[in-house]
């Protein structure tokens, strides 16, 4: 049957194309600002995932001729789709890009482990499914456990203890102490400690990140790194170091800590190079693997053979010989993928990892609680740096350190840790959503309060205005009485001029924005005494020839001039009226009608020129003056 030949020949292009489309969708996600409008993208991603999985297993079945793989495929497909659907159902507010990428990488992992070693694939699948279930509960816990913030000593001690335990009890595998067995299952505590370590750094630095806190956390971090170097697990030692370095940078926003850290790290690296033979061997194998091709360079050169033979479209599943690379399913899965699926597919895989990372960073930046922000950030760094170490190491971009490719490589501890990690990030994402919801609620409350206050103010002002009018009338009457000592009103040119001046001054003063009370006091004083100053100003005024009519002040055009923003913006009101947050617009436009009060209201005194302030909810809310709740931003 030569159908097989055709499938062989074309499947690699199809698979590669699916992966390219998937990657493009990954980055298109960032073009949309909210999850609602990304729905279509996510759905397409799920379809592409299904297509990739289906095509790959079809090729595997044709190549091996084993029907058992079909059943394996069906179960995988069910589990993966259950994961996608359950997440959607249990946590409607999760970030689905991360869930999708996670499932995509799991399916790539299952495909490749099936191709490389069926029994390992089954094992990985069982662990993966269990981990997915565990990961399903975690967002709920993260959301409800406020306790997590205050456990820094527990994190520090348990981290060092677990790593120390490996040093004492661990079994040596291929020169490194990385695991110990409990009841037949072997664990790699370093994987879990990475998570604990991120929590430790976050809890140590979220409140304040002055020098003492940084020093304290640096000592604990150094202990982690040191034990890992002694365990000869250079990869995770480096990961601890990098996580710490970047988290301190985010916590302190101080680049000097990073510079100091890099210097200390380079010093430590030189020290390690001089005193540890295994470090020297690694460096030698990086600089010239061909000279030690029989020993230390064997793995990396085999990996390079695999990558160089790939070509852009790959050799096709089962067409290459990735199994010649020792531990291909753990350390060099990327090389195997690149060889059979092609360099393009490999690059796409990298980009998918990168898009996951960017999404995590976005979540982190959007979190206003610093503790959660640091955790999201630290986990993101932990993830992307692992990807970088394993892919860079396997392609001789950087020295080889023997780290797994998260979610794709074979390894239970790594898979569980990464799934938990993503689950935590999903939890944090929901916290962010909660935060936003709460913010909106508080904002609404605030608005109602303000509305109330405003109404009261309005009432009070109306009252005052009425009283003022009466007083004015009285004093006018007094004056007329004084001038005329009778009911007859005699037109006095001089006095009329004074009144006019008063109105003018009143207007001029208002432009200079003095408080109303002060202004009125002045006016009264001037009226009573008929001050010389008034005359002088009146002369000035005559020159300017403005506001001669008695109605001047009350004229609507005049009032319009007093509105301190561009009158052309007025039509916007119509647009905003239909928006859910029109409250703020209305409030804002109301200001125009009550301009007198507007100028007198202390609150507005400073912000008068930035009317935007009144309807930009975040801006408004983040203004300390308006915010009563606890402040995390500092």
């Amino acid at each position: 049957m030569n159908l097989e030949t055709y499938i062989n020949e074309f499947s690699k292009y199809v698979i590669c194309l699916i992966m390219i489309l998937y990657t493009v969708e990954c980055f298109c996600v960032f073009l949309h600002s909210d999850e609602e409008s990304r729905k279509g993208l996510y759905f397409r991603q799920n379809i592409l995932m299904f297509a990739f999985h289906f095509c790959s297993f079809m090729v595997i079945c044709f190549e091996t001729g084993k029907v058992a793989y079909l059943f394996f495929y069906a179960i995988q497909q069910v589990i993966l789709y259950m994961a996608v659907a359950l997440y959607k159902w249990l946590y409607p507010k999760t970030n689905r890009l991360i869930v999708n990428n996670l499932c995509m990488m799991l399916s790539i992992s299952f495909v490749f482990l099936t191709r490389l070693d069926y029994s390992k694939a089954v094992k990985q699948f069982i662990i993966g499914s269990t981990s997915l279930v565990i990961a399903l509960i975690i967002p709920f816990f993260i959301r409800s456990l406020k306790l997590l913030k205050n456990l820094k000593w527990i994190y520090a001690i348990s981290g060092i203890f677990l790593l120390g335990l490996v040093y004492v009890l661990g079994t040596i595998t291929y020169g490194s102490k990385i695991s110990y067995s409990i009841g037949g299952l072997s664990f790699q505590p370093a994987e879990f400690v990475k998570l604990i370590f991120v929590f430790f750094v976050a809890s140590a630095l979220y409140q304040s990140s002055t020098f003492p806190e940084v020093l304290f956390s640096a000592i604990i971090a150094a202990a982690h790194v040191g034990i890992q170097v002694l365990n000869k697990d250079l990869g995770s030692a480096l990961i601890f170091f990098i996580i710490y370095l970047f988290m301190v940078y985010i916590a302190t926003k101080n680049i000097f800590y990073v510079i100091a850290g890099v210097l200390a790290g380079s010093g430590a690296a030189v020290f390690a190079y001089k005193f540890f033979a295994h470090v020297r061997v690694r460096v030698q194998a990086f600089i010239d693997p061909w000279s030690v091709i029989d020993s230390a360079g064997y793995q990396i050169t085999q990996s390079l053979f695999a990558i160089s033979s790939a070509g852009l479209w790959g050799l096709g599943l089962f067409q290459g010989t990735p199994e010649t690379i020792p531990f291909v399913e753990v350390d060099f899965i990327f090389s195997a993928i690149a060889e059979e699926m092609g360099i393009i597919f490999g690059i796409c895989l990298l980009l998918v990892c990168l898009s996951t990372f960017i999404m995590i960073m976005k979540i982190s930046a959007d979190l206003s609680d610093k503790f959660y922000q640091l955790i999201a950030f630290g986990l993101g760094i932990c993830y992307i740096f692992q990807v970088f170490l394993t892919v860079g190491g396997g392609t001789k971009f950087i020295p080889l350190t023997g780290v797994t490719l998260p979610l794709v490589s074979y390894g239970g501890s790594s898979m569980l840790t990464t799934l938990v990690m993503f689950a935590i990030i999903e939890g944090l994402y929901m916290i962010r959503e909660d935060e936003e919801l709460e913010k909106k609620k508080r904002l609404e409350l605030k608005r109602q309060k303000k509305e109330k206050r405003r109404r009261e103010l309005k009432k009070r002002r109306a009252e005052e205005a009425r009283k003022e009018k009466i007083r004015d009338m009285q004093s006018k009457n007094d004056r007329y009485a004084y001038e005329d000592d009778g009911d007859e009103i005699i037109y006095d040119e001089h006095l009329e001029e004074v009144y006019e001046n008063v109105r003018y001054i009143d207007h001029a003063r208002r432009e200079e924005k003095p408080a109303v009370s002060e202004r009125r006091e002045d006016v009264r004083k001037i009226v009573r005494t008929g001050d010389e100053e008034v005359r002088r100003r009146s002369d000035d005024r005559k020159k300017s020839k403005r506001h001669k009519t008695e109605e001047g002040r009350r004229r609507p055009e005049e009032r319009k001039k007093n509105v301190r923003h561009n009158p052309e913006e007025r039509p916007r009101r119509e647009v905003y009226r239909n928006r859910p947050d029109r409250y703020y617009e209305e409030e804002y436009y109301e200001d125009e009608y009550y301009d007198d009060r507007y100028y007198e209201d202390e609150y507005y005194e400073d912000d008068r020129y930035e009317p935007d302030e009144y309807y930009d909810d975040e801006e408004y809310y983040d203004n300390e003056e308006y915010y009563d709740g606890p402040d995390y931003d500092d």
Binding site: Y6, E9, Q302, I343, I347, A365, F388, F397, E618, E619
Partner: protein, 488 residues
């Protein structure tokens, strides 16, 4: 609306996180570029590594491709014999032994350089499907060379039993038309004779003398001495005069003309044509040694030769102020510390024939799949001008004088014009033992005008004697064959 959104984004903006994101994104982009670049760059060389099992896997899947001559004749192909094992069939036996090489017990020549193509297949899927149905191997891609079977045969015959090498190239493109190295071997039986070849270190059967053999250049080096002299004296070289009395003396050091011939009064042209050692020793002493050294560097001494298709030895010669007068006199006539490979001398000659522009020599012009559909084409590549055009024209004149009235008069004929330089490179302790050199080119006449040179050849005959006597006749046979003279 837009303003508002922008403002919103600005508010959420966290610079440190942004910086870190950009940092990792840049890192990943750099890594991706590196991976793509690495895999493309090392596609061919890594597959030939003996630690790489992929070549063996491919060999099991595909029948090794054939190698064709420029006229389409098969030089070598593979077939499956009755036992089901793959047999490599070299149709011309020993004829292409070095240039095409072998692929058993390691690899050599084209079999080595183009191994990647010879084991990979670009066969159309329909062919693959057919082969799958018959449970046969896929046909791998074939390599089409620039080699001319007739010229190769004539060159090989002309060299006869002598050890030595012949290279015939096309100066305007760099195509190698023939490449013979003797003693040769039969690639078909190389596995059986392997041990004897290895034991016989003296004759060096497996060495491709055309590219890997380093020889004293002898009088052919006078080309380089002349180039330098013309460069230094572009106006006055024509007024050069020397009276040869059979030897040149400076201090205690003495240079003798070949067989002690007394050439008498010579100008620059005749010094070159008659290959007068005394005169050239005199010229050599007048050269600026630093400038000479930089000219030599330009002429590719002490560097890898720019060619992808051959493993070449590096010609070695350094001249500096520390070089003694005795050495300088020797160098000027191509003796002493001068060592050059035949292909290098051929490239220099080609550059002269091509008005100074050197084309990279190549022997494979395309790779095609089993149905003849081109997979990859190798176009002539220009290396650059290693000699100024004016100097090259002068050199062309000098080399034509050699044929007209110098040591190469045997090449004079009416059918084509030839130019060149002979050489007799002394080697070893015994006086009079010398390698015969000839390097030159030939072109046809267009009416009375000389057309551009068509072919360029370099011949070295080990231990034969004078170049004019042993190498020039070989050149004549090849030129005659090329211009079909003998068959008229």
């Amino acid at each position: 609306m837009k303003e508002r959104k922008e403002k919103k984004r600005k508010k959420k903006f966290n610079l440190p996180i942004f910086v870190v994101t950009i940092f990792f994104a840049a890192l990943f982009v750099a890594m991706s570029f590196y991976i793509v670049n690495y895999s493309i760059q090392h596609k061919m060389d890594l597959i030939s590594n003996s630690y790489n099992t992929r070549a063996k896997v491919l060999a099991k899947k595909n029948i090794r491709g054939s190698i064709f001559a420029s006229d389409g004749q098969t030089i070598v192909s593979s077939y499956i014999d009755d036992d089901g094992s793959e047999v490599r069939d070299y149709k011309f036996g020993k004829l292409f032994s070095h240039v095409v090489g072998y692929s058993i017990n390691g690899r050599m020549g084209i079999e080595d350089k183009y191994n990647y193509y010879l084991i990979n297949t670009n066969a159309p899927v329909t062919v693959k499907a057919q082969k799958d149905q018959k449970k046969e191997k896929y046909p791998a891609d074939d390599v089409y060379t620039t080699l001319d079977v007739e010229l190769q045969q004539i060159a090989s015959d002309a060299l006869g039993v002598y050890k030595g090498a012949v290279i015939v190239t096309e100066p305007s493109t760099g195509k190698v038309l023939a490449m013979v190295s003797k003693p040769d071997f039969d690639p078909t039986t190389i596995a059986e004779n392997w041990d004897s070849y290895l034991e016989d270190t003296e004759s060096g059967v497996l060495v491709n003398r055309a590219t890997q053999g380093l020889y004293p250049a002898g009088s052919t080096f006078k080309i380089l001495t002349s180039i330098e002299y013309i460069k230094e004296n572009p106006e006055s070289y024509n007024s050069y005069r020397y009276n040869c009395s059979g030897s040149y003396k400076k201090g205690e050091d003495k240079i003798k003309c070949y067989h002690g011939t007394v050439h008498g009064s010579l100008d620059f042209d005749m010094s070159f044509a008659k290959s007068c050692n005394s005169s050239f020793a005199n010229i050599g002493m007048q050269l600026n040694r630093d400038k000479f050294n930089s000219t030599l560097e330009e002429m590719l001494f002490n560097t890898e030769l720019p060619t992808n298709d051959f493993d070449c030895s590096v010609s070695k010669l350094t001249v500096s102020d520390d070089t003694s007068d005795a050495d300088m006199m020797q160098i000027a006539i191509g003796q002493g510390p001068v060592s050059i490979s035949a292909i290098h001398l051929n490239m220099i000659t080609c550059a002269i024939a091509n008005n100074g522009k050197l084309m990279k020599p190549y022997v494979v012009e395309r790779v095609a799949n089993c149905e003849g559909k081109t997979v990859k084409t190798f176009k002539p590549e220009e290396y650059g001008n290693i000699i100024g055009e004016d100097t090259a024209l002068v050199l062309q004149g000098l080399m034509e004088t050699v044929v007209k009235k110098g040591t190469g008069t045997k090449l004079k004929n009416d059918n084509y014009y030839a130019a060149g330089k002979t050489g007799s490179a002394e080697y070893g302790a015994v006086k009079g033992e010398s390698h015969a050199w000839f390097t030159g080119y030939a072109g046809s006449y267009e009416g009375k005008e000389k057309a551009k040179p068509d072919i360029c050849l370099t011949i070295i005959v080990e231990g034969a004697g004078a170049g004019g006597e042993y190498a020039v006749p070989i050149a004549k046979r090849i030129f005659d064959a090329y211009y079909d003279v003998s068959y008229q």
